[in-house]
């Protein structure tokens, strides 16, 4: 098989090919390492780890030869820079974690390696996962492998998991880990024609994942197909004693759900997601998704989630508040960058000033402000009360018999690099208008490619499920994938 053929395989096909000995894990890893080297213009990887990759692939080949292959044996993956990887660059794409190499492994990546996966390198992202365009990385922006038809202008891949999404779309890894605090898996997946799932809060352990907003952060995969996302999530998810918010619910048979009938499932269409000024293309995409699910036997019902419009402003109080607390640990003492000062307070201030980028600093300042004396009740407590109402909206819809909710994934296709540079932060935040409610309520959300816009850029739909019912999302996601097909960018890099 040629190198291009190898990197075109889905994870399910890799599994079959390796077990049939059609190629070796080493061949496959070498093909990916070559494609990564040829795609450095995309800036998807911060660090490539070829030696580690080849030694893991060799170990996989030995296991396969002995007939001891595990669930992800020999599958080459990219890892978002937010996950601690033992002895390997882990900086959340921030300058403040300069030279940090953890002496431990995150639970999610440890689960993947225990299942035989191969690490290709660490993927670029928005600094501390704060951003919707992957333009806040200390290591520079990621370029979307997709371009508008007839244009060479670079587009953003979305964020914060922009490196993960770009690498999967450009076939620089078979699948990738990602994280989602307000839409950071689903929005970049939609911008790159890939599949991304943010599982239920508590499904994947947060241990060893650099914290942004602890009550909202969840890890999940980005992959090329619904089935591949299901395979990866099965390995990433676990119940972990090291994360007290990891929930004691057995991990489901996600791949087994792929291809199951959706007949009789009730799909809620929330009227509040029909925004003023929403583009006709997004509306048409949504209607197409409704038609596909209806044809497959699902029942469509109109629902109301009345507090939807308050999710984004409430999120931009809650998430910065938690971030300001979590990021207090970066003080130039225990790890990372240190910039000297005349006393210890000046050392802290200089270190944090030089180490954090503008977006991160702004969120820390907002978080510090809304948690400060006199403002705590007016902002933070009020936002948390509104979060209760947002969650209640979903609870009521599910109690009324809705199995899943269908919405657009993003309000638009990918936009140009630096296009939002002069916009107010609030305009950038609007990218997450359809995804952020899901984090606020702790629910699982799947983004699946559903079509191309008039400039031939991918657009995605989002399915939102009941807590710990990821299987339902995989069933429904496969119906959309079957109807819409899959989308691959033309190679220009």
């Amino acid at each position: 098989m040629s190198s291009t053929d190898l990197t075109s395989l889905t994870i399910a096909e890799i599994r079959d090919g390796l077990s049939a000995k059609a190629f070796s894990a080493t061949d496959l890893t070498k093909a990916y390492l070559a494609s990564m080297e040829a795609a450095r213009a995309l800036n998807a990887y911060i660090v490539e780890t070829p030696e580690q990759a080849l030694s893991m692939a060799a170990a996989s080949d030995e296991r396969i030869a002995k007939g001891e292959a595990r669930a992800l044996e020999g599958v080459p993956l990219g890892i978002k820079d937010l996950f601690a990887t033992e002895g390997v660059h882990t900086q959340a794409a921030s300058h403040i974690l300069d030279k940090f190499k953890p002496s431990y492994e995150s639970t999610v990546t440890a689960n993947l390696w225990n299942d035989g996966a191969v690490m290709l390198g660490k993927l670029n992202m928005d600094e501390f996962a704060m951003g919707s365009s992957n333009e806040t990385s200390y290591y520079g922006p990621v370029v979307n492998p997709w371009r508008k038809e007839g244009s060479n202008a670079p587009l953003v891949p979305g964020g914060s998991s922009g490196g993960s999404a770009a690498a999967v779309a450009a076939r620089l890894c078979a699948g990738a880990t990602a994280t989602d605090t307000g839409g950071s898996i689903r929005q970049p997946a939609a911008f790159t024609g890939t599949v991304g799932i943010k599982p239920t809060y508590g499904r994947c352990s947060r241990w060893g994942t650099v914290a942004f907003a602890s009550s909202l952060d969840q890890a999940g995969p980005i992959a090329r197909t619904v089935r591949d996302a299901a395979i990866l999530l099965k390995s990433m998810a676990s119940v972990d004693a090291k994360d007290t918010t990891s929930v004691d619910v057995p991990v489901g048979d996600y791949e087994g759900a792929v291809g199951q009938s959706v007949k009789g499932l009730r799909i809620g269409i929330p009227r509040e997601y029909r925004l003023d000024g929403m583009s006709a293309e997004i509306e048409a995409l949504w209607q197409q998704g409704i038609a596909w699910l209806k044809e497959a036997g699902a029942e469509i019902v109109d629902i109301s989630l009345p507090h939807t419009k308050y999710a984004l402003p409430a999120y931009y109080i809650v998430a910065p508040a938690e971030a300001s607390s979590n990021l207090a640990r970066y003080d130039g003492v225990r790890y990372g960058l240190r910039v000297p000062g005349e006393d210890i307070a000046a050392m802290y201030e200089n270190t944090r000033s030089a180490g954090f980028g503008h977006e991160v600093k702004r969120r820390i300042l907002i978080g510090t402000y809304v948690l400060s004396a006199g403002y705590y009740d007016a902002y933070y407590v009020r936002a948390q009360k509104i979060r209760t109402l947002i969650k209640r909206d979903f609870d009521l819809a599910f109690a009324a018999g809705v199995d899943a909710v269908l919405t657009p994934a993003t309000p638009s296709a990918a936009f140009g690099l630096e296009e939002m540079a002069v916009a107010s932060p609030v305009e950038m935040y609007l990218n997450d208008v359809f995804t952020v409610t899901v984090n606020m309520a702790g629910l699982p959300g799947l983004a699946v490619p559903a079509g191309l816009d008039k400039a031939k850029l991918p657009l995605g739909l989002q399915l939102i499920g009941r807590p710990f019912e990821e299987e339902t999302l995989f069933r429904l996601g496969q119906v959309i994938e079957d109807a819409a097909g899959s989308f691959t960018p033309s190679k220009w890099w």
Partner: protein
């Protein structure tokens, strides 16, 4: 509500982030845009609503109170910018 420049500087000091005059001005505009966006939260009647503390109805798990980890101070200080004899080193704090 909106913040003035003195408040931005006070909050930056609380957060231990040194800011220049120019940065403070930029942050002031951005923070006020976000606080302005959050104003709409005041439209919502939250009387009698409990603040959300956990999205999952689960009692906090408790570990058995035993030592399961540790005894590797060299690894703990291994990433420190400055360390000496397994201690983190900081500028003098007590005269």
């Amino acid at each position: 509500m909106s913040v003035d420049i003195a408040t931005v500087k006070r909050v930056a000091h609380l957060a231990r982030i040194a800011v220049t005059e120019e940065e403070a001005t930029s942050f002031q505009g951005e923070i006020n845009a976000i606080l302005g966006f959050a104003e709409q939260l005041n439209e919502v009647d939250v009387d009698g609503v409990e603040p959300l503390t956990s999205v999952v109805a689960q009692t906090m798990k408790k570990r058995v109170d035993v030592v399961t980890d540790g005894f590797y101070a060299d690894r703990v200080v291994g990433n420190a910018p400055v360390s000496d004899d397994d201690f983190f080193m900081v500028p003098k704090v007590v005269e």
